[in-house]
Subunit: 92 residues, 2 copies
């Protein structure tokens, strides 16, 4: 079983095994188990959602496209974040 680290800034490390798209992953991080399980559930959901639209995808391409979609969402959120910070600056 392989491990993935969610972050490296704390000494209280949590290690749990989660199921994503029928495979088990051992995740290590300084977040609590609820957070790690939520992250795994979101990835699992997104993979199933993309699979439903593209049933011919193999798991490897499916996982890459899931990462693509999440990075896209991340960038959009990052842009909103910058706008909020700018707005806050003008209010100070």
């Amino acid at each position: 079983m392989e491990d993935s680290e969610l972050s490296q800034h704390n000494e209280k490390r949590t290690r749990i095994t989660v199921d994503i798209y029928g495979q088990q992953y051992s995740i290590v991080g300084d977040e609590n188990t609820t957070h790690i399980r939520m992250v795994a559930a979101i990835v699992d959901d997104k993979m199933r959602e993309i699979y439903a639209k593209n049933p011919s995808l193999d798991i490897n391409r499916l996982a890459v496209l899931t990462a693509v979609n999440v990075v896209h969402d991340y960038i959009k959120l990052k842009e909103e974040n910058e706008r909020l910070k700018e707005k806050l600056k003008t209010k100070e």
Copy 2:
């Protein structure tokens, strides 16, 4: 070649082929090609970063763990976002 859709709210669709971790993907979205290429480059970078730490990972597990890491980052950013919105509310 499979397609992935980045969003579905616009009529100006962009379709480009990007290379992620040695494989080609056809991405369809209403974002410009620069945005789509940036998203692909981020996923490619993250996969290589996680691979460097876990060279025994196969591409399928690597891609899933990349998605896990990005969702984790997304949730952290979402939390910051909510804090910024709350802060803005108190300034109004």
